[in-house]
């Protein structure tokens, strides 16, 4: 197990290195100039001074070597070009938790509601409950989150004045973004849980369980659930990394100072340090989540656990 983890970590680090390198050169090769974007009209000398501050006057490979050195030795992503005085690390530190809070709450709702609905839908296959759930799922998947967010804002906030339209700071601010963010996820978890449960119900070992004298409840608890959750684990891991990244659309609509907002803005600003820094950060989360999925997989599925443990 340890050996396996070590191997996965080594590959993870290699992946991150490749992503960092690729991003660095791609961003540098992109058209546009961050200095020009920031200051526009400015005497040439001043521009040169700013260029020198960010090392933009140096040859590309020298910049790359310097960047990597700072990244590896100090974990430093560098100072933002747009937000003078702030490093990409600061932005990540200040805003990640905002995105993560909303994302995590939304994820809890997505998983709990999604899995329950999926299970009900599968067990009541072909009955009214199943049809209703399936129609709702298709609807929820088709409606973009910003449309749903707008509908929520209109009714819950504007018409009935239950919660603020947007803003950040009180618990009531959480309600709308969490709901808007969770909807799509609930729908997809429902969909996946339904099909995975139906698959398990059709397996021979479910007949064996019944032939043993298991009641349908016991069959569900002891034989169906665990097996139907296996494919779901694959979905939860990446979703877990996604919550830190936040959703640009949701954050923008509800004026939430989350990371997704900064990420998209960095791209349009041509803010080199921010783009590369945030990309590496998200890649780190994603790689970490995938390793976590592998571990979780081993816990739910003994077939994979032992395969790992063997020499």
């Amino acid at each position: 197990m340890l050996k396996f983890l070590g191997k996965r970590l080594a590959f993870g680090i290699l992946t991150l290195f490749l992503i960092a390198t690729a991003t660095f050169f791609l961003v540098a090769g992109a058209p546009g100039d961050p200095i020009a974007a920031k200051v526009g009209q400015m005497p040439e000398q001043a521009q040169e001074i700013i260029s020198a501050k960010y090392g933009l006057d140096k040859p590309l490979f020298q910049r790359y070597a310097l960047y990597m050195k700072n990244l590896v030795t100090k974990g430093d992503f560098g100072e933002s070009i747009i937000y003078t005085g702030k490093t990409a690390n600061d932005v990540i530190k200040e805003n990640t938790m905002v995105s993560a809070k909303i994302g995590l709450i939304a994820l809890v709702f997505q998983v709990s509601i999604g899995l329950s609905l999926g299970l009900v839908s599968a067990l009541k296959r072909g009955k009214a409950a199943d049809h209703v759930i399936r129609v709702l799922v298709v609807l929820a998947i088709c409606v973009p989150s910003f449309v749903f967010a707008a509908v929520l804002q209109y009714f819950l906030a504007f018409k009935w004045k239950l919660v603020p339209v947007f803003g950040w700071g009180q618990w009531t601010n959480y309600v709308l973004p969490v709901a808007a963010y969770a909807l799509g996820g609930i729908a997809s978890y429902t969909k996946y849980m339904r099909s995975s449960t139906l698959g398990v119900i059709g397996e021979d070992y479910i007949v064996t369980a019944k032939a043993k004298g298991c009641t349908s409840r016991r069959t569900l608890r002891k034989h169906v659930l665990r097996n139907s959750l296996i494919p779901i684990v694959t979905m939860v891991g990446p979703a877990l990394s996604g919550i830190f990244a936040g959703s640009f659309v949701i954050e923008k609509m509800f004026a939430i100072p989350g990371l997704g907002f900064y990420y998209v803005k960095a791209v349009s600003d041509n803010d080199y340090t921010m783009i590369i820094g945030l990309t590496i950060f998200f890649a780190m989360l994603f790689v970490g989540a995938l390793i976590l999925v592998d571990i979780l997989y081993g816990i739910v599925d003994p077939r994979i656990r032992v395969a790992k443990g063997s020499k």
């Binding site: 397996e203 021979d204 070992y205 007949v207 064996t208 369980a209 019944k210 032939a211 043993k212 004298g213 298991c214 009641t215 016991r218 002891k222 034989h223 665990r226 097996n227 296996i230 739910v300 599925d301 003994p302 077939r303 032992v306």
Partner: protein, 343 residues
């Protein structure tokens, strides 16, 4: 000695499918004596598995219709299983009547330890602690001759070979010492060397626990060595039944004959063509009115297609439903030992 433990009367089973109602079992009567082995033989889709699942109450209730208008009965020790509630049936399944299945690779829960799967049926049917149930599970595993049972108990199905999984399945089924074991093609998915071991094991345990076995199979080779009586099914009906000797040496139904001829013999030389029965079984959504085998039968007559033959009794155990045994039938051209009673 010949005490009937199970009696199936006029059992018919239909499934409602998108294509229409499929009449999988069309009026089947048979009995099972205590401690004996009854083999139900027939090709795929003849209704043998459906019959056994009907006894267990394992058919999907929503799409299934059992009995029809004439009223079927499945009497287990005199009580009609078809009249039992689902709760009463759960109490019988796995404790009084058990079943093992064709494919041991998929019949065990992949994420549950073998020991727990065996212990589960003990836990369900007895007031017993989990630790004691596991102890009994260990005994069961030893009983089905799995080496290193204590260690194997903690393993998962994927760590078992096919033959060992079938042994584990047998341990699951027999954990509560049932009175009847229904073995639905227990050796079909196993290779030949393992087949004999599994059949021997079932035979041994049958004697040890004094249980009756219904062996569902299409493999006559398996049947010959273990069964007491055989009944041959075709298209949802029993066409012939008899003791092992009667079926193997004096079978009277052309279908039984065809099945027997399809088994390769040890002295068959490689120049001979192996007999194979032409054609396919009928579509049971529109079952034929006459004998369902008539279109494939080499002795088929006009009446065969129009009217189902009456059952002719040849001995205490042997019966056959075929027009060839009608007094007016033309017996010329039939193999000599096929015509019984008329000789």
């Amino acid at each position: 000695m010949d005490e009937k433990i199970l009696e199936v009367r006029n059992l018919s089973v239909s499934f409602h499918t998108y294509a229409g109602t499929s009449h999988a079992v069309r009026g089947v009567d048979f009995y099972l004596n205590k401690g004996e082995t009854l083999a139900i033989v027939g090709e795929s889709g003849c209704g043998k598995t459906v019959t056994s699942k009907a006894i267990m109450g394992l058919l999907p209730m929503e799409q299934t219709e059992i009995g029809g208008s004439e009223g079927a009965e499945i009497l287990f020790n005199g009580e009609d299983l078809l009249k039992k509630s689902e709760n009463e049936m759960t109490a019988i399944r796995g404790s009084k009547i058990s079943m093992i299945f064709q494919d041991p690779m998929t019949s065990l829960n992949p994420t549950m330890r073998i020991g727990e799967q065996i212990a589960e049926s003990i836990l369900i049917h007895n007031e017993i602690s989990k630790a004691d149930a596991l102890k009994k599970a260990l005994e069961m595993l030893e009983m089905v001759k799995i080496p290193n049972a204590a260690q194997r108990l903690k393993q998962y199905p994927f760590e078992f070979s096919g033959g060992m999984r079938q042994r584990a399945m047998i341990a699951v089924a027999l954990a509560c010492r049932p009175e009847i074991l229904i073995a639905d093609e227990p050796t079909t998915a196993l290779d030949v060397t393992i087949q004999a071991q599994i059949m021997d094991l079932i035979g041994e345990l049958q004697k040890e626990l004094n249980m009756a076995v219904i062996l569902v199979t299409h493999d006559l080779g398996v049947v010959a060595s273990v069964a007491d009586r055989i009944q041959v099914m075709y298209a949802g009906k029993i066409v012939e039944r008899g003791s092992v000797d009667e079926i193997f040496y004096q079978s009277t139904h052309p279908y039984t004959r065809a099945l027997l001829s399809s088994v390769p013999k040890i002295h068959t030389n490689n120049k001979e063509t192996l007999y194979s029965l032409k054609g396919t079984p009928p579509d049971l959504i529109h079952p034929p009115t006459g004998c369902a085998f008539a279109p494939r039968c080499e002795y088929g007559m006009r009446i065969c297609r129009n009217k189902y033959p009456e059952t002719v009794k040849f001995s205490e155990t042997q019966e056959c439903s075929c027009w060839l045994h009608h007094p007016k039938a033309d017996h010329s051209g039939l193999p000599e030992n096929m015509v019984r009673g008329n000789r």
